[in-house]
Symmetry: C2
Subunit: 189 residues, 2 copies
């Protein structure tokens, strides 16, 4: 019988792994479950990602890149600091309400003490790059121009924290609308 021709399942594997990790956590995902969902054998997943750590890094790296790409150039962001923060919140809102998933790096961040070091490093990188993005964008707003670098950094970290925490709380309570109730800070002059 004819065999299906090779079709490069790499992206599908990455997509599936990301969704599963965001739902079940790193330790809740196995090569076999990913393979089954994709429609291949687990050895095919190992073909692209020889170890689970390598797969985790690839998923986290792509997630981080897509996240930053969606945020866009921080130098092009709004002059209104609250609109800048809203860009980040919008991504969390989409994750919660549309995808019904955790933020990948929020999930990995919770498990960080038990991750292979290369995955932990990539998780760290996600938060570093996102706080850098926020600091840059905020520094160009009307509000931000009057603030110290340290104040901007604090605002960035608080926004990221509240975003991750809001996902956890809203999902635990079983009601996505709670995200909206967690009205985040208004920055004030």
């Amino acid at each position: 019988m004819s065999r299906k021709s090779a079709q490069n399942y790499e992206v599908k594997i990455l997509d599936t792994a990301e969704t599963m990790i965001r739902s079940r956590g790193y330790n809740g995902v196995s090569f076999r479950e990913i393979a089954d969902a994709v429609g291949v054998k687990s050895s095919s997943v190992h073909y692209y990602y020889p170890t689970k750590g390598a797969l985790g890094v690839a998923v986290a790296r792509r997630y981080t890149e897509n996240f930053l790409k969606t945020l866009g150039n921080p130098e092009d962001a709004s002059n209104d600091a609250n609109e800048v923060l809203e860009k980040v919140r919008e991504l969390a809102r989409y994750s919660l309400k549309q995808e019904k998933l955790m933020c990948l790096c929020g999930m990995l961040g919770a498990e960080v003490a038990d991750l292979p070091s290369e995955v932990a490093d990539q998780t760290r990188s996600f938060f570093l790059l996102n706080s850098d993005w926020l600091v840059t964008a905020l520094s160009r707003t009307d509000w931000g121009r009057a603030q110290t670098e340290k104040t901007l950094r604090k605002a960035a970290l608080k926004t990221l924290s509240t975003m991750e925490g809001a996902l956890i709380v809203a999902r635990s309570l079983g009601d996505p609308e709670i995200f909206e109730e967690i009205e985040m800070d208004e920055l004030r002059a």
Copy 2:
């Protein structure tokens, strides 16, 4: 040969399970690892907690009880709303800096979509009870008396969210002092 007399490892099992779950997540913990750390056989863990779900519920319930007990009676809390919030933050600070662990229910909350339903329910209960505690305590403060119930609830949920998120961000970035940088809101009249 004489065998050690029966000594009821139940509390030690619960302690060990809690610490492990707070470090590795629910799916990162096994009966064998808990048993090894306690110094018993895995069947002894099953003696007290026949299923992993039962163990998870017991850990989460005890954690919630201890959390609320440490907070104390919400009616006896400070008249200063910011001091009320600080009580909750202090527990997160202790978790991060002293214990070097996640909040149990922050961890379980991230994994909530993959937990046995009884464990998910107990996680939900943690957040409900804590937001109730905050609403009650805040309602008796100078600030709170002037607010609507809905405003109090929002403040409660935001405080819990920022607390859980700050643990994730600070641990991911590998620096507990970041918790202090995430200066949380000052409530204002």
